[in-house]
């Protein structure tokens, strides 16, 4: 039984400085594997819709007729499911979290280029 048993920890941690960060002025540490937000290389996308089918949060919308790929950043749970199912490997998950949304749309849309459409029709 001790009265000041935490003193050992206090003395050990006394000279260490704070364990916390001055976020956001001091950026938080991100690892190579950290799951941030989904990025798309729209030029390679064939709008097959597999990413939409396998998205557990229904965050992705694919419109084949207008060659548009959209993602709702608020719905996305950064699970990496779409990246794994993409047959063209045009999706990837970076290690940066999405910036706080202050204004503007939460849904980000990407329009396919005519070149990708032309290549697709040739196939």
């Amino acid at each position: 039984m001790q009265l000041f048993s935490i003193t050992k920890i206090l003395l050990k941690t006394l000279g260490r400085g704070p364990s916390t960060l001055r976020y956001p002025s001091e950026p938080a540490k991100r690892y190579e594997n950290s799951r941030g937000q989904v990025e798309i290389n729209i030029d390679d996308c064939i709008f097959c819709g597999l990413c939409r089918m396998h998205c557990p949060a229904d965050a992705i919308t694919v419109d084949k007729s207008s060659a548009t790929w959209s993602i709702d950043r608020f719905r996305c749970i950064s699970c990496n499911s779409c990246v794994e199912t993409c047959p063209k490997s045009c999706l990837k998950l970076n290690n940066v979290y999405h910036e706080p949304v202050i204004s503007g749309p939460l849904v980000e849309s990407f329009k396919g280029t005519p070149k990708a459409q032309a290549e697709k029709s040739e196939e």
Partner: protein, 360 residues
């Protein structure tokens, strides 16, 4: 002089409660005569989603049943599907599941010890517990990509591998961390403040714990030597594990069980890293499951059950989950009867309630 009975509502929002549990406390002066629990504030209908989602995609939803034991929920679900489909998971995947499960246990217990210290008003101990927890979370983020929701378990294995050199580094970091944990645990074992608030408080006898179906540290704190890891799922049958058992039956014993399990988890990770085989980490899964399986795992809070029934379609028929908190609520009601009003937060916290888990 006869005393008057009054009913005090406790929760679902309360400064010392991390979870939205609601208790109607029937008081006689300052003594609790009876506690009537009611849950249903955060129900999300996750079990029902299994009928609408592909069985492979449901892993993500199963993982979100609980924010703390998320990885172990996905292990329970995946091993259920794998057993229905007779899939042989690579041994390396089993070891990785074991390592990440134990990291989950470390982070859950450190979080709980901090919350427990906070409920007692011991702020310094709370901050030191959470400081150590951050290091565990960093290790998880580095290896899996997620701090709390790991998202690495899948039907047929795991999504990511950890290189052997990285595993050795992790063990070296754990050696430093475990010495700090020992100092922290000694405070929980020896400190006067902790002892005065927990010794003899919230007593539950071994018979009552058995009859009321208590699981996890709540049961082990009453002297019941019951740990689902001993059944040998994942890679636990290759490792040397002995359940941590205390016989006191009070809050102090349950706290001690969790503190000792921290050191046990570090030991299990060391053993797993020493014995991990090389090879693949997943197998290809074809077809749909057809059959049923009763999958049991040991979460930080206790035994968790996923009963899975599939009918050969891509959407399985039923995934009934029984979480450790559901099993521990009858024991909690028994503990609360006869205690002091001021001890209620401490007693409620000793079962480590997770209402998000219990309501799914």
């Amino acid at each position: 002089m006869s005393s008057r009975r009054i009913v005090v509502p406790f929760g679902p929002q309360h400064p010392v409660l991390p979870e939205p549990i609601h208790l109607d406390l029937v008081l006689e002066d300052e003594h609790v005569v009876e506690a009537i629990p009611s849950i249903g504030y955060v129900h999300r209908g996750l079990e029902r989603l299994v009928e609408k989602r592909d069985y492979k995609d449901f892993v993500y939803i199963a993982e979100r049943i609980c924010g703390i034991c998320s990885f172990i929920h996905s292990v329970a679900y995946c091993q259920g599907i794998e057993n229905i489909m007779n899939l042989e998971v690579p041994r390396r995947a089993d070891y990785l599941r074991t390592i990440w499960s134990e990291y989950s246990r470390l982070h859950s217990h450190l979080l709980w010890l901090g919350l427990f210290a906070d409920a007692m008003g011991f702020e310094n101990l709370f901050m030191n517990s959470w400081r150590l927890r951050e290091k565990v979370l960093d290790a998880m983020e580095e290896t899996t990509g997620g701090r709390v929701i790991q998202g690495v378990c899948k039907v047929g294995g795991v999504r990511k591998d950890i290189s052997n050199s990285k595993l050795s580094e992790m063990v070296k970091d754990l050696d430093i961390l475990s010495s700090e944990m020992e100092d922290l645990c000694n405070v929980f074992f020896d400190d006067d403040t902790v002892r005065h608030r927990t010794k003899g408080v919230g007593f539950l006898s071994k018979d009552d714990a058995y009859k009321l179906g208590a699981v996890g540290p709540t049961a082990r704190g009453c002297g019941i030597s019951y740990d689902v890891r001993k059944t040998g799922y994942a890679a636990y049958n290759d490792l040397d594990i002995a359940p941590v058992v205390e016989t006191g039956g009070d809050c102090y014993s349950r706290c001690n069980v969790r503190a000792k399990e921290l050191l046990q988890s570090v030991d299990i990770i060391r053993q797993a890293v020493a014995n991990i085989p090389d090879g693949d980490v997943d197998v290809k899964v074809k077809g749909n499951p057809n059959g049923e399986y009763f999958s049991r795992v040991e979460q930080p809070r206790g035994e968790c059950i996923h009963y899975i029934k599939a009918n050969g379609k891509k959407n399985i028929q039923r995934d009934r989950v029984r979480t450790p908190t559901s099993a521990n609520i009858p024991a909690l009601v028994k503990m609360l009867a006869g205690c002091e009003m001021a001890d209620v937060p401490v007693i409620v916290l000793t079962i480590d309630p997770c209402i998000g888990c219990a309501e799914r």
